[in-house]
């Protein structure tokens, strides 16, 4: 009987990363730009998705992966009603999407008929950011009622995203949300992060979001040709 130590030095997330890379290659081959939308529950992911589908109608064909921890498919139904091709992904209690789930969901979508794939992650500010999906962009949707301390409480999330949307700006007059304190936290974690304040309800600020969405999709199409 012998005992020995084996040096391993392998990332636990490497298996996920490999699947994410294959997802990315498949998206690129189909000329699709994919956006991973992350947020806490109730921040307005589905509302922003509905506004986005309406806002880019006639310019971009949208595919959706809506995830939930249960079989309740109302988010996917809302996206379908707004005009997207959608698949509902039930994670059966798991608190984040991983690349394998997205791979399986992509198999259910008509990739040839999609320009922009919106992936609605599980409402959670902790672990989704650790799991690459193969998407091109990671977007965090924050909202003013969550409070101005969120960057300090969820540093991994705030430091790991490419764009930050701040939803529900129409509620600012009713809240004690210190925008300077919030911004200092964001800047410390993710300097230069593109931040788009808006309100899905009043529609103020949505134009900047649509412009960003159109810019990433158009740029990808230009590269693909």
């Amino acid at each position: 009987m012998t005992v020995k130590t084996i040096q391993v030095a392998q990332s636990v997330l490497s298996a996920n990363r490999e699947i994410a890379e294959r997802n990315r290659a498949k998206l690129d081959a189909a000329g699709i730009v994919a956006v991973n939308l992350m947020a806490s529950p109730g921040a307005g992911k589905t509302s922003l998705i509905e506004r986005t589908i309406e806002g880019v109608e006639g310019q971009l064909r949208i595919g959706m992966i809506n995830s939930d921890t249960s079989a309740a498919a109302m988010d996917a139904e809302r996206a379908e009603r707004a005009g997207a091709v959608s698949v509902h992904l039930n994670t059966a209690g798991r608190c984040h999407l991983d690349a394998g789930m997205v791979r399986d969901a992509m198999d259910c979508l008509p990739l040839r008929d999609i320009d922009l794939l919106l992936i609605e992650n599980i409402g959670n500010l902790v672990c989704p950011v650790s799991w690459q999906l193969g998407s091109h962009w990671n977007v965090l949707i924050g909202s003013t009622p969550e409070g101005d301390d969120k960057p300090y409480k969820y540093p991994r999330m705030y430091s790991g995203v490419d764009v930050l949307v701040i939803n529900k700006t129409d509620l600012l007059p009713f809240l004690s949300f210190d925008i300077d304190y919030f911004t200092r936290g964001v800047r410390a974690l993710n300097h230069g992060l593109r931040t788009i304040p808006l309100s899905c309800r009043s529609r103020v600020g949505l134009e900047e979001w649509f412009e960003w969405i159109e810019s990433i999709a158009v740029r990808r199409t230009a590269v693909a040709q």
Binding site: I6, Q7, A9, Q10, V12, C95, H96, R156, R187, H191
Partner: protein, 117 residues
């Protein structure tokens, strides 16, 4: 609950390396976790016992070491190590820092037992 996915990943890596070395049993696994990550050690240890049952890793110890968070200071351009939870540059005190994404969680080494060898 994300600790469950993580320990499943740790188990798979450990089993693969143990099997390719012809080992019959895994005695311990050493795992490094970035100080910035949200994995709770207690939860990892609890799920670890759970997922290893019935495999060569059954009963194996899990040792968790925390690795410090690396920062790039955008003010003084130095690569520095964060002092605990404080994410300001320890050199110049600037808040303009960028956490340098490291390996979130990786298996450093495993200790195995081989019969006969």
């Amino acid at each position: 609950m994300h600790e469950l996915s993580v320990v499943e990943g740790i188990r798979e890596i450990a089993l693969r390396h143990a099997r390719s070395a012809g080992a019959s049993r895994i005695l311990s696994v050493r795992v490094a976790i970035a100080g910035f990550s949200s994995y709770l050690e207690d939860a990892l240890a609890m799920f670890w016992e759970e997922v290893c049952g019935g495999t060569e890793a059954a009963g194996a110890r899990i040792e968790i070491v925390r690795t410090p968070v690396g920062l790039l200071c955008l003010e003084c351009s130095k690569s520095v190590t964060a002092a605990g939870e404080d994410l300001r540059c320890p050199e110049c005190g600037s808040e303009w820092v960028k956490p340098i994404a490291g390996q979130e969680c990786y298996v450093e080494s495993i200790e195995v037992e081989s019969s006969g060898g």
